[in-house]
């Protein structure tokens, strides 16, 4: 591969092109999170093996993952944290801020309106919507709950590109349809249902009960293994 880099890469060098495996992108977010913590604690550089150890990955994996996007390291030194953070944010798209539209202002929605973690990664819930007349007009965490009929206009007005669905499961598809009609490009769905969406709309599902279920499996199967359950033949 053509190369004679000495200075840090520009973000414009990023591929963004060939399909990077999803699992690599999810580790990228973990690298970024850890790097931000390291910088906050004063660390300037880090090696792939240090970073990997902190997260439970191998050094080779860290290097390969980063290698999908460019060359960020300095042989003999490692990675400069601040540079790598900037590069990762370029890759992930969070060097600019994102306005998000929230649909559903129930318990969970209201809690998410106050969640500080979004802002730290450059996401702002710029508007929130509900159909319940008892909620519309209320101001929560500085955001006035609007009627969902105002969604399309507000999305346009505020340059909103991402939506978040926090309605009860039986109204989730309708909320999704509304967000799509309003022109949103991606949706995070907290309702426990698989949405039907056009292919051009990106989609991330978060099912809180499923997370517990995965834990249940892990605990249960670890137990079975410890009990010496041998190979899984069906017959005696």
């Amino acid at each position: 591969m053509t190369d004679q880099r000495t200075q840090p890469l520009q973000s414009s060098d990023l591929p963004s092109d060939a399909s990077v495996p999803k699992v690599v992108v999810s580790r990228l977010s973990l690298y970024l999170r850890e790097l931000q913590r390291l910088v906050a604690s004063g660390q300037q550089t880090i090696s792939s093996s240090q970073l990997g150890t902190l997260l439970g990955f191998s050094d080779a994996q860290v290097r390969k993952d980063l290698g999908f996007f460019g060359q960020f390291g300095y042989p003999g030194v490692g990675y400069r944290c601040d540079e790598l953070i900037r590069a990762m944010r370029d890759i992930l798209g969070t060097n600019h801020s994102w306005n998000v539209a929230m649909v559903g202002a129930g318990n969970l929605g209201q809690a998410l309106l106050g969640y500080r973690g979004f802002g730290r990664q450059n996401f702002a819930i710029a508007a929130a919507f509900d159909t319940d007349p008892a909620k519309v007009g209320n101001v929560i965490q500085g955001i006035r709950i609007q009627h969902i009929d105002e969604l399309a206009a507000t999305v346009r007005e505020k340059g909103i590109r991402l939506g978040m669905i926090v309605v009860p499961v039986e109204r989730a598809q309708e909320a999704a349809d509304r967000l799509v009609a309003a022109g949103v490009e991606g949706i995070v769905n907290f309702a426990p249902v698989t949405l039907v969406l056009p292919a051009h709309v990106q989609n991330v599902g978060v099912d809180l009960a499923i997370e517990l279920e995965q834990l249940s499996f892990a605990v249960t199967s670890k137990l079975a293994r410890a009990a010496g359950e041998p190979a899984g033949a069906v017959e005696p």
Copy 2:
């Protein structure tokens, strides 16, 4: 493989043994969720290709995934939804109910106390803890917030095996240490930090900002691809 099954499998036939890929287990949860929806709408049987189509997987993948755990289908017919649901819950460990201890009763924690989705999958938040004297003693969604010093005793008393961390990021590790000391076997962590845990404690992390970040990447890179960004060579 030895086999002459005609009747549905008993759950005791489950392997629980060889390492089933994590990604398979996560799809299991999606299958289960979809099956529950189907049963609720009156459907009795389903084929692997129908189920796959609903979730965006291939028929072969559905069959292979289920094949890790046993034989559940009827050739020419498909799977009987109620049977398959029971089998999946056996596998995932949710045919019995789980008591969960929540640490942190802030905005998000309080919202999760009221989340109906947990109960539907057989999880109950049986106790909630905080250090804030202004919160301890309050009753939220029928749960009295206890001081965290009562954690170990309550875990024992109520047979709690799973913990949920919903404290601010800087207190997450301490919360984890407390849960581990109390004897919990698995932890769902909503704080944006990688916990250091003993190997025998299972661990699922949910970082809400990272979910948005993944969406940001998907939207950004889809855009780049549409713009015809070619292969990612660094040099002109």
